[in-house]
Symmetry: C2
Subunit: 127 residues, 2 copies
């Protein structure tokens, strides 16, 4: 089993949980918390947050690992480990093309997190 690059993000796309109710509107159920907390945890590391940003803001929608690694003062295995964490959280996807491996973002989960953390504007324009 020398195959990887897509370790089946089982939680990301099975979105039958109450989709996107903001944190501030109703109490998030335990099941939703159990699904979304790991994604927040994956982003709760400075290196992974920057990696996620570099991937999500990339020009062609994808980045080569060879461009990610030298951006940090860390070894290759460490970067690879962080990328796997993002992959298993369902936040990014990897694809090997020839010698290089390219990562691209999966916006679905990011969108749910943004919706979760959304705070309605401070009553300037509403009510």
């Amino acid at each position: 089993m020398s195959k990887q690059a897509t370790p089946a993000p089982l939680v990301a796309l099975t979105a039958d949980v109450p989709c996107c109710a903001p944190l501030t509107q109703r109490r998030v159920p335990a099941e939703t918390a159990a699904v979304l907390a790991p994604a927040l945890k994956a982003l709760g590391d400075p290196v992974r947050l920057q990696l996620m940003s570099m991937i999500a803001s990339a020009e062609g929608g994808e980045v080569c690992v060879c461009d990610l690694t030298p951006a940090f003062d860390l070894t290759g295995p460490t970067i690879s480990h962080h990328l796997r964490t993002l992959r298993e959280a369902g936040l990014v996807d990897a694809e090997r093309r020839g010698t290089w491996v390219y990562y691209r973002a999966r916006p679905a989960l990011l969108r749910r997190l943004a919706a979760l953390l959304t705070v309605e504007p401070p009553a300037d324009l509403r009510t």
Copy 2:
């Protein structure tokens, strides 16, 4: 409360990092990541995510710890520990009134996180 000519810096923890550029638009700088990642990490636990939601969605804007603790199958010290984590992350604020301690949300940081994770809608809206 007229916010007019307040000479004092009105934000303590969320100092003056480049405010709210979404993850997907430009690469988040290391300093921004260092500031925001701990907040995401604080929310990256199912218990804390539910606590944050219970606090942020509370009726009067605040919740008594005595209402938070029995909502989980955890001991008092553990809940207290999670609340402190949220507090030290700048996400909530605590106030003791008589026997009880009340927690309320701090929307500022939440808003920054939501802005950070915002994904532009998959189609146009820009030209």
